[in-house]
Amino acid sequence: MAVIRDVMPAFDLVQPNSIADAQKLLEEHGENGWVLAGGMDSFDWLKDRIKKPKVVVDLSGIGELKGVRATADGIEIGAMTTLTEVVQHPVIREKYRLLAESAELVASPQIRNQATLGGNVSQDARCWYYRAGWPCYRAGGNICYADAPEGRNREHAILHADRCVAVNPSDSAPALIALDAKFVLHTSQGERVVDAEDYFIGPEIDITRLHILQPGNLLTAIRIPSTWAGTRFYFEKVRDRNVWDFPLLNVASAMVVSNSGIERIRIAVNGAAARPLRLKAVEDAVRGKPSSPATGEIAGELAVQGAVPLQFNAYKIPLMRNLVKRAIGGVEEATWIPYNGQ
């Protein structure tokens, strides 16, 4: 029987115009509800007829979810703010450039015009077995095809794998962790604010989702404190293509460096595990040391401790080691600059 892959399954489309209404609708529909932000992740699932939600809650009409606002201590970015707006926002470019850089490396210009920051951090895994609808652990099944003896797992996890070996594909997530961002959630119990790194979870906590949002929950905003504004940032993404590609691995760091060495630092990588990893051990090891290639070497080695390669992803170990080394050691990233028409 032919599998129909070009028509979305029927669903009820609801388009609330306030956070309160969206929250109520999601609460009402629970497991049957599907949150639609920019649609860049959702439409793949829907058009492939793999996910078949009964009700799609479209957030695009909620004005209060959009835009960048100043707060008493930093900025608040609405979850429905597009990546293009994030990239172009003057305050983000000036003070939180790490986020602008990471967002600018997401996918392609067309996708960034439509994709949202909330969507980018909440997107699902891109494991090609899971995405093709294979009944794996993450899909509620009882097997991991990527980690099978002949599984193809070039883009999969080297750290913290637990049955599932898929990775988190977000570029903005590690930048937000490095900036010590706070994620604002709306739940039936009211507003809840969590640290960026606590928004993401691995398969040991819930194998079917990459973040803590439960049915009925909504990510409404991301707050960035001024703690790391204007500090020394490093972001590098390694991908197969120079545009329109998910990361093989990325690294984001924010550092305050003085004559006596690295005073403060936050560093995170993504593409290595099911959640973006904040490298606390690396931060502790390099604090007080000079930002030098030698410190970078130590940091790189420490970062990949405990990494377990699968058959085809061993390259991610030296890749992660070297990206962390560059971020800490102050080595310039590749000089290649995409032609941007200017």
Partner: protein, 231 residues
């Protein structure tokens, strides 16, 4: 003369519509409506003609220019790459394709063909792949973000092409076809540049991505079998 959907005698006079011409051809039959074929036509052309016979004004002919052997087009491709040894990522910084395709009839069309097809070949080298799960026999790289055809940002901003423009005596107008030759050149020039930069043994395969380069550099010897390039 054929103009304004009518057929007329040269210099004016009698004319008829295309439909009337077709009707007249069918009345005349023989060589006019395809029932009679020139003896030197190819077997397949004759079969096609027979299938169309009697349906209108049908004509088929074959050129009888002298020809000694067959003709081929050639392209010599040159690529310069920069490899980041810490990430395995490489960038194509310069590219030139030199074509030997007989007379150049339409330079812009030829340039588009040569560079366009070179990009296809570059795509084969830098990552366009077809990944199967060998256990289940299932295609895995079913999406363009997984199969990864090259983008405009994957090729040098200023790609160059040139042609020798030497007429081919064996073809009616001195030109030869071009289309596929730049594909092989585009692919091989990238792989040869990689071999030149990093060593022969590792890159006798396509595609080559950061993973292949980095694991091989790390181990000091090839880590992926050439026949398992599509992973």
């Amino acid at each position: 003369m054929v103009a304004n959907e009518r057929v007329s005698r040269k210099g004016g006079g009698a004319s008829m519509t295309l439909a009337q011409a077709a009707q007249y051809a069918i009345q005349l039959g023989g060589i006019y409506d395809g029932h009679e074929a020139s003896v030197d036509l190819n077997r397949v052309t004759k079969a096609s003609l027979a299938a169309l016979a009697g349906q209108g004004l049908v004509a088929a002919a074959k050129d009888n220019y002298p020809r000694d052997g067959t003709t081929f087009s050639y392209v010599a491709s040159f690529a310069e790459i920069e490899v980041d040894e810490e990430t395995g990522k490489y960038y194509i910084v310069d590219f030139l394709a030199y074509a030997d395709v007989g007379s150049v009839i339409h330079p812009r069309a030829l340039g588009g063909q040569v560079l366009g097809r070179s990009v296809l070949g570059i795509g084969h080298a830098i990552g366009q792949k077809w990944v199967y799960d060998p256990h289940y026999g299932a295609m895995l790289s079913t999406r363009f973000y997984q199969n990864k055809p090259p983008t405009i940002l994957d090729v040098p901003v200023d790609m160059q092409w040139a042609a020798l423009d030497i007429p081919d005596p064996e073809t009616p107008v001195g030109a030869r076809g071009v289309g596929e030759p730049p594909v092989g050149g585009g692919c091989a020039s990238i792989l040869n540049a990689l071999s030149d930069a990093l060593g022969d043994e590792i890159f006798r395969r396509a595609p080559v991505n950061a993973d292949t380069i980095l694991t091989s550099l790390e181990a000091g010897h090839p880590m992926q079998h050439p026949l398992m390039a599509h992973i």
